[in-house]
Amino acid sequence: MTRKLLLTTAAAALATAGLPAFAQDCPIKVGVLHSLSGTMAISETTLKDTMLMLVDKQNEKGGLLGCELEAVVVDPASDWPLFAEKARELLTVHEVDVIFGNWTSVSRKSVLPVIEELNGLLFYPVQYEGEESSKNVFYTGAAPNQQAIPATDYFLDELGVEKFALLGTDYVYPRTTNNILESYLKSKGIAEEDIFVNYTPFGHSDWSKIVADVVALGADGKKVGVISTINGDANVGFYKELAAAGISADDIPVVAFSVGEEELSGLDTANLVGHLAAWNYFQSAEAEANDEFIAAWKAKMGDERVTNDPMEAHFIGFNMWVNAATEAGTTNVDAVRAAMWGQEYPNLTGGTAVMGVNHHLAKPVLIGEIQDDGQFDIISQTTEVPGDAWTDYLPESAVLVSDWKDLECGMYNTETKSCVQIKSNY
């Protein structure tokens, strides 16, 4: 049996090695791994539609490498184990060349081992907690230093906030982000007792007590600000309670990392005007590319639909992949990966996104104020900030860097000068 095993492995190895020599297999398949049912369908269906739109557009332009692109859509149904199963199915059964997918961190962690084992390629479009850099994943969403840290700086410098309430949904993204922020705030001289942390379950709806707690924080005369990593539809109840309590953005500003145009369409924003969100993209950004993108989206999906940050991330990711594959002349994962480093593509908000060797994008950070029409008024926009896979504000991570080009390692300890591990933490 061992012999047979050896033989098959050898055959497989031969086949893989021989791949680039063959002409490109047509059609080129693009896997779309977004939940179309279950809790996360709320956010992810939009991304599926975005991908279909992008693929169609590329086909109109003549496809890629002389081939038609074909989108393979599967439904992992917001079921994390199913993500791994569907990813394997995409890579082995449908033999897709690239996967665009995932929203939650836990689903990404579920997919990681499969992608790494089968040497697939995943584009992950959502802002996340960082502390990861996989060989086979390109992170087109924001790392903490591209969203959370600038927003906190904005609170500290521009709004003069001295006391922080970190409210989050109880899962990995808020947990890690709040951890980083706590450590960052302490480094900025904010005392531990001036940081209030609270976690609520998914879909939480009874916010009266928590909002009252936040108001009570102001009792020692310091300006209070809320940093919200509350996820999904729990935001609806949270903002309704805020509005009911009459908390204006001038008294207690709230900056949210998971609330975009899409989430705001679920509520009446008249009472929320002035509260903030930090993203790398807002629909209200004035740029020609953005107008075009919005027009195409509305033409496909209907006038009332809005665009949001993860959609832009897919837009950039997909176009970068197309360009990288064109440059490499193949969709072979290793070749495309090499071509991706340093790949540039214009942002929808103006400026240029650059893919770093740590598989994170350099993107501008935007801070917007909620307006009564459910859109954001952009009041602050930075230049491009390169994404940092390992945060500088946690002692264990500060010594780590990721460089897939020269160091060939996603988790390199600069102190011991060694690669901690090639594969990722799951």
């Binding site: 098959t8 049912s37 059964v93 961190s105 836990v106 962690k109 084992e117 990995v172």
Partner: protein
Amino acid sequence: MSDLTLSPPARRALVLRHPSVLVFLAILALFTLGVTLLSEGMGAGVISTSFIKTLGKTLCFCLVALAMDLVWGYCGILSLGHMAFFGLGGYAIGMWLMYERTRQIVADSLAAAELPPTAQEISDGIASQIFGVVGASEFPPIWSLAHSLPLQLAAVVVVPGLLALVFGWLAFRSRVTGVYLSILTQAMTLALSLYLFQNDSGLRGNNGLSGLQNLPGLDHVPQAWVSLWFFWASALALGAGYLFCAWLVSGKFSSVVRAIRDDEARVRFLGYPVEAFKLVVFTLTAILAGIAGALYYPQAGIINPAEVAPIASIYLAVWVAIGGRGRLYGAVIGAAFVSLLSTWFTGGQAPDLVLGPLRIQWVDWWTVLLGLSFVAVTLFAPKGIGGLVDLIGRIKNPDRHGADLGPDAGALREREADQ
């Protein structure tokens, strides 16, 4: 249909008394062999590795469905919490898998350091790797046994068993029955899942345990083989579980259990310790579920609290009901049929149904179909798919004159009505 017959005085071998057991085992063996030969690991490659995993997981579902059938179909306890035990089994094995894999990574990386690592440094390294994602870096006490495979394997059996024992003792002692018990079991699994969702539970909260498909120390073995191993193990467990269940439901024990289902008060008046019988069944099935879970999650690759949410246990009841409760093969058929069909429909491969201007996409409408077919089965075919066997076997059901005898076979009243 010989499971209709009650135990005759002269005891023959189990499989002779119940040819369905033999048939089932034969089919299972043939299926396993066939899948193995066609698998990627064997070189044929007709069946992809991902499908082998799906099949392996389906077998685990079949095993837990057997447990559900035992507790519901035979004992009449509609437990809406058995997936909690399934999940606990998964967590127990997952802890070891995760610990050991991380330990090897950490040991390798620390071996390059200037000073040889102390035990404490290794332990800290593992903890920060495992809990880094949830913002902690210390081992919670719950992990104190995670370094040992035998102890965690024992936990696969002990933890669900103990929980079932305590919960069952409390519930049965205070005579909670019927729908109350169902709701109570549902509350139990909800409480467990909410507890696990907390980061303070020490099991990584919503993230759960992941990367379980990579067996520690076996990095060089391709998943094609690992998946086959687990497939065999699952098949073996299912076969053994089926045999065990068949043995359990063939004896006097089972007669009492079924009598409890049909009329608990009468059995109690006859002097049987009803609570003890129920407790034994409840605990045994919980253990069975735990074992199924321990085999399932290394194939799924990740376990998290959503897996023990109440909905999972309700689906378990759905499988058994559709397959036909009160007969072991019914549970297996139901679990396999529904879960494979779900995979097919949600996979997006099912062709759209075009009804004139309407275009029905199964990804959207499959759940509706499942829900409605479930209503239909309860209303029109309480025997489920297993009832087809009766049709083929030309087994005539007694005319019940409207009285409800339960949809299953084997109760004494059934025979009385038949005569």
